[in-house]
Symmetry: C2
Subunit: 199 residues, 2 copies
């Protein structure tokens, strides 16, 4: 529809996740009219990310060196590994400042519809990290959805026989939420996991 | 939150129109895991667009040469100019294959809230194109919203005294739509613009 270069850019932008044809067109025209320096910065950021960012050789998180920031930090406990699906989950957990152990990024969750099986996840690497006996607890922090639960169940079956403490993040009502708007599964889990209040 | 290059990319993507922080993060991780050749193609498309695409010296449409495809085409009538807000409107009208004249892209619409006045639009350039008397009709095809209507009214006041035929695209019910879902302004316009059916 557009002349060469504009259409090429719209096509390339349209391949990005969550960017439909209309947004791709809108972004392309924004960039067309933008200051060349702004576009330069975007191009540089893209080039840099591909040139410098890699995946941590230990945990699979994004890293700017061979190992990620968490794995390089000697203050982080080697006794606890928190298993997550994606690097963005590491960021979410780091934000809580609650966890002082290490991570293991699976690179997804078991999902038969998208043809993702256990062999497509970094499970062998996880088992490798458990071999030296330093790890005493594995926290399964995959998403609380069907795929995440299936992955947690699969991992629990592998890990519990190894004599490790295997835990799963609590399900319950989101803080600041309204009880009446909670779905019944979440509310059911909140009942199941209720805690006694000490006076 | 993320290490250097990843955060830089998320920041740059988040500056694009319609891309919030969550989408920026999602796109960044998609690109991180993507084939380097795919990212290369996006980078090339961005670079190409800034290097090669310019705005047509006649009508203000996007162009890969000094003049755009429409203005270069000798088969297009010089007697009719269709005035639109943005290059994407040219594409929408071209798709109908109904119009065989030329375009004039204003680069926006009068919008006091965003501080866009008549002087910010390519109105002087439009008047320049009317000077030689070749143009007999100007079609005002700005958007049928408040800003587009204001712009059309402003232009009509300038152009009608020049003795030109000045027209505005018809408002009415969208084809394939439901009468009961039409808003009252559109339905009112559809009544106003009703046509007699010849038996």
């Amino acid at each position: 529809m557009y002349e060469g270069a504009v259409q090429d850019l719209i096509d390339e932008l349209g391949r990005l996740p969550g960017v439909g044809p209309k947004s791709a067109q809108r972004i392309a025209f924004h960039l067309l009219a933008a200051d060349p320096a702004d576009v330069r910065r975007l191009v540089d950021a893209l080039t840099e990310v591909k040139a410098r960012v890699q995946f941590c050789s230990v945990c699979g998180n994004v890293a700017q060196e061979e190992m990620c920031r968490v794995c390089r930090d000697p203050r982080r406990s080697l006794a606890v590994i928190c298993v997550v699906e994606e690097p963005k989950d590491v960021v979410a957990i780091e934000r809580t400042r609650e966890f002082r152990g290490r991570y293991h990024v699976l690179g997804g969750a078991i999902n038969p519809i998208d043809n993702v099986g256990p062999d497509d996840l970094r499970i062998k690497e996880l088992l490798g990290r458990l071999a030296d006996g330093q790890v005493t607890e594995v926290i399964l922090a995959t998403d609380p959805n069907v795929e995440g639960e299936a992955t947690a169940t699969y991992l629990a079956r592998l890990l519990v026989p190894l004599g490790l403490r295997v835990t799963r993040l609590a399900s319950g009502l989101p803080v600041g939420g309204d009880l009446e708007y909670a779905d019944e599964v979440t509310l059911g889990r909140a009942f199941e996991g209720r805690r006694q209040i000490s006076a």
